[in-house]
């Protein structure tokens, strides 16, 4: 009679336009934000931020679609979509990104899977060591 656990059961949280949430907000399922949030916002599933929503928080989500304003860092495990009305003031880290014309981003942006990002880090180390050795040799030559 009631929906069983075996069937797909998505818990959903809706933060409406007239509501303010403050603190460490960790949701069990999908989250739809139309109001304001401050603190930390985390979900393993899908996050949707509406046109008039304003979030002053670090955001972590599985997938996200942003149309509103976020002041804080965003970490999205899979796909991040930024609509034309999106305004992001913070760093972004995601596997893939889709940005519409008109979206505003002000911060660092790291896109790619973790493996690719780690490869980038590894390749930078020898260059730094090389540069250090070159600098040391030039000092010795002057002396």
């Amino acid at each position: 009679m009631f929906k069983k656990d075996e069937q797909t059961q998505e818990v959903e949280t809706i933060i409406g336009p007239s509501v303010h949430v403050e603190g460490d907000f960790t949701a069990a399922g999908n989250v739809i934000v139309e109001g304001t949030v401050s603190g930390n916002l985390k979900t393993e599933n899908f996050l949707k931020v509406g046109n008039n929503a304003k979030i002053t928080a670090h955001v972590t989500a599985g997938n996200a679609s942003i149309s509103g304003e976020i002041h804080g860092n965003i970490t999205v495990k899979e796909k991040l979509e930024l609509a034309s009305t999106a305004k992001i003031f913070g760093d972004i880290k995601t596997k893939s990104i889709q940005v519409e014309l008109g979206a505003i981003m002000n911060g660092k942006c790291a896109v790619g899977d973790d493996h690719a990002l780690k490869q980038e880090d590894k390749s930078s180390k020898p260059i730094k060591i090389k540069e250090w050795k070159m600098a040391e040799e030039s000092i010795k030559n002057r002396l």
Partner: protein
């Protein structure tokens, strides 16, 4: 063994024919049992304790939502007692949400004996099955899971804590909300403007209005002034108010079709 608890308003002569019809039907179905009429002079708790000691396994509330609430709070401590409802009169939303649409089909539902374990809510020391309403008299803050707070931008909003779907939201949300077996309750924060739409008939059942819905396991109501909190039926509580879900608490006989 069945115990049928008749609410005291059924003593009125207007219900005589209906009750006779019900009793005949229950006998025909082989689920007749002891009938006890509630009254202000009878102590319901002692009555139920005695009957359970004599071997009663199923207790059926015959009446409305207030009857259901009263009986549930007295049987909730018994793990192996099954609860049933025969709805009579007005205000029978709980029975409807359990798939028992009217008095006639209630007997057949009891006979079919499809039993589910459902969650209950607990507000301070009172259990509820459907939900509680917090009147929109002043600014209210909800503290959820001891981790975050929910407040309204405007002072005029109503808050409903739901286990079953509220009557005024019939058809408005998909089945993902208001499931009494998911181990969670839902806090519904509703601006007063939307309530007006409901009262003046502008509310469309399929329209997703600008409400907020927060699934939770534990919530506290924070307010500087006193608020009126109404549980199933008419009980009124005063702050401090702590609300939590009690998962899989009640064994209940349900109908096959639950309304969406």
């Amino acid at each position: 063994m069945y115990l049928y608890l008749y609410d005291h308003f059924l003593n009125d002569n207007s219900y005589y024919k209906l009750l006779s019809k019900i009793e005949m039907r229950l006998t025909d179905l082989g689920i007749g049992g002891k009938i006890s009429r509630l009254s202000p002079l009878k102590n319901l708790k002692d009555l139920i304790n005695d009957e359970i000691r004599f071997g009663v396994k199923t207790i059926v509330a015959v009446g409305n939502d207030e009857t259901v609430s009263m009986v549930i709070n007295n049987i909730v401590k018994y793990e192996d007692i099954t609860f049933g409802v025969i709805p009579i009169g007005k205000q029978n939303f709980i029975a409807r949400d359990l798939g028992i649409n009217d008095t006639e089909t209630a007997c057949d539902v009891l006979s079919a004996r499809k039993i589910e374990k459902i969650d209950l809510g607990r507000v301070n020391n009172t259990y509820f099955i459907s939900g509680i309403d917090i009147a929109a008299e002043n600014k209210i803050t909800l503290e959820c899971e001891d981790q975050y707070q929910i407040s309204s931008e405007t002072e005029t909003c109503a808050i409903h804590i739901c286990n079953l779907r509220p009557a005024f939201l019939e058809g408005a949300y998909e089945e993902k909300f208001f499931n009494p077996q998911d181990g969670m309750l839902e806090a519904l924060v509703m601006p007063i403007a939307e309530l007006s739409k409901k009262f003046f008939g502008f509310f469309k059942s399929n329209e997703r209005i600008s409400q907020s819905v927060f699934p939770f396991k534990k919530i506290s109501v924070l307010t500087k002034k006193s608020v009126t909190v109404t549980t199933d039926g008419k009980k009124v509580l005063k702050p401090p108010i702590d609300i939590e879900v009690v998962p899989q608490k009640l064994r209940v006989v349900v109908g096959r079709q639950r309304p969406v």
